[in-house]
């Protein structure tokens, strides 16, 4: 097969570019430690979330020094709890599941972003630094009231956080 000289050069550079992309992503995963949403959250029955030890009363709990777990239920057309309140300068692991259809969970302006699929629990860990309010949107179409489905993540200064109320301020 006759391949023109320029074509060979282009082919080589293309392959180099592709390998380069894969290398940067591998570095992001292994070097920087960007971990993906995966199957670590496990499965639940979406019809019996009210019997689940955590999702029956969704909220935030402290699990270590500066470490928190936030259980969130997405359902047409709300997030529970709302607002989700966590202290600044902490590490928060979100466990998000759906009580009905597929939803999305994205903290606007950050890369905290996951799909919420009934039967599956999405687990994402984020470092929360500065105090402030962040909007949360459902970014997957979930029915005709989809555009009303929003929530708030409120990051309060460390001193003002009251762990006993489950973050439901």
């Amino acid at each position: 097969m006759h391949i023109h000289q320029y074509e060979k050069l282009w082919l080589g550079m293309s392959l180099l570019l592709i390998v380069g992309f894969i290398a940067t992503i591998t570095y992001g995963a292994v070097g920087v430690g960007v971990s993906m949403v995966d199957d670590s959250g496990g499965n639940v029955d979406p019809n019996s979330l009210d019997e689940h030890p955590e999702f029956s009363d969704p909220g935030v709990e402290q699990v270590g020094e500066d470490e928190y777990e936030a259980y969130v239920v997405a359902r047409q057309f709300i997030f529970q709890p709302d607002p989700i309140v966590v202290p600044a300068n902490s590490t928060v692991t979100f466990y998000v599941t759906s009580a009905d259809v597929i939803h999305g969970f994205a903290v606007v302006g950050t890369n905290a972003n996951t799909m919420v699929i009934p039967g599956e629990v999405a687990e994402i860990t984020v470092e929360v630094n500065e105090a402030g309010e962040y909007g949360i949107v459902c970014h997957e179409y979930c029915g005709d009231g989809h555009h009303t489905m929003e929530g708030v993540l409120r990051v309060v200064p460390e001193g003002q956080y009251n762990s006993s109320d489950g973050g439901e301020q």
């Binding site: 592709i18 992001g28 994205a106 972003n113 599956e120």
Partner: protein, 584 residues
Amino acid sequence: MSVERETFADRYPEEAELVRRSFLVAFTALGLGALFGIIQALHRTNVLRFIPSTDYYTVLTAHGVLLVIVFTIFYLVGLYQWAVTRSLDRSPTNINFTRAWLTLMTIGSVITGLTILLGFVDQIGISADVLFTFYAPLQAHPLFYTGLVVFIIGTWLAGVDWFRTWLHWKQDNPDERIPLQTFMVLTTMIMWYVATIGVAIAVLFFLLPWSLGLIETVNPLLTRTLFWFFGHPVVYFWLLPAYMLWYTVLPKLAGGRLFSDPLARVVFVLFVLLSTPVGIHHQYVDPGIAEGFKFIAMTNTMFLLLPSLLTAFTVVASMEHGARQRGGEGLFRWLTALPWRDPAFTGMALAGLMFAAGGFSGMINAGMNINYLVHNTIWVPGHFHLTVGTAVALTMMAGTYWLWPQLTNRRLYSRPIGLLQVVMWFGGMALMSNSMHVAGLYGVPRRTAEPQYAGFDFQTAFGSIAELNVQLAVGGTLLFVSTLLFLGNLALSLGNPKVDGLGQTLPEPLSGPDDSPRVLDNMKLWAGIALVLVLLAYALPLGAIVQNGGLFGTGGDAYPVSVLGRFDPGVGLDAVRELLGVGR
């Protein structure tokens, strides 16, 4: 000389009629889809609203399904019917069979299309506001899925028809290489057969029985994964007819000939092999799929860049060759020697340019961990309006300007209007997709009727959301006007008198098929390897999903639950018993 100017319609009147018929369906869908497009652009940006926001999703579903399923695929089957007939210089083995699959596809589209549109009429109780992706447990009326099945069976039979024509040709020409256009058709269809396995299983075994009430629940992650098994390769099903036009028609329009026939074949074979084992890259942020499977899908996706990068080379090189044949000189000055007044050429060239931009945003989507930033934001529609919405749609419109006179023996009504139309599409899409990409980076979600949320604002680094909205609305309006110009130009062309001598020929490539290894023509081999690659990429993740969540899921109700016309087999049985007078 008169034989050389003979058109396709002169030589194959019945086939030309069928090509015109499939284009008619395609362009009807294009017009309706564009109408729904402008309604969305104006509603989302709050410029003009005349539907309730709850109806927005009916509009969105209709826009998606009509454009990416009906418009693109009916154009594809028309173009491919032309290409097979032309390049083999042979009629279908049985033209009634050809008529049958086209009819089947049309019936399927009408059923699904009507089911979606009935969503506007609440009283009837039939709806399918499930978007193009129809993720369970959002549920559509059973007719929605039925229409899809009928449509897909139609496309399968189209492939059977083309393979059969080729096999008969091969008996008469045992030692000849497959002509390039037929090669492209056959490889595209192998890819399509592999790709549609996923959606066929999802619809036939899960969604349709579930919508009929025969099974209680489905596993949403399983049907979603099966959807994307099909949902990524389908984008290449839209793209490959555009590639066919770029490889075989664009070089001629530019004044030259294709650079390399063998490499064109290699590109199509690469699409057969690589386009299916990548679907999980649409699920980077899905729970329930292990990181390793996502990584494998990511590497496969990156290698899928190769055929597109090779195409970029060939298309530009063929254009340059054409320009130099026309007397173009210099490092870049040859660009001025190209036939920019020809709407067919300019449309395809601009489509190619936008495809490059769409390719770059695609590379970002494919970046597993970068995807977190843009997943499900309006960045994604920004990306695919450059690829399918411009690279494919604009190439198809430009190709029509060249092909239409040969299918009808009538001249185009106006070339200047055609030129204005393609340039307007380019400008409108530049504005609209730019604003979509930028807004997506700030987190504005896709698929929502009202992106102005009550509880918070989106923060932009420069400019403002209001300015991006204006860009989107103006861009969308230009696109709508451009579609009207296209459809109007074609409709007016039908009023032109019939003339002789509108036929066009396609020149032989610089480097012909004899330069390529014969193994490229071995369709069975490529189909086999493609299936093995699919098995490697999907067997384990699908197995894990079923193992964790069960074949029919862990529960979960359908939504909306009150779809009228839900078929309850128990009630049906009772009615029969009553009619027969048999006691219970």
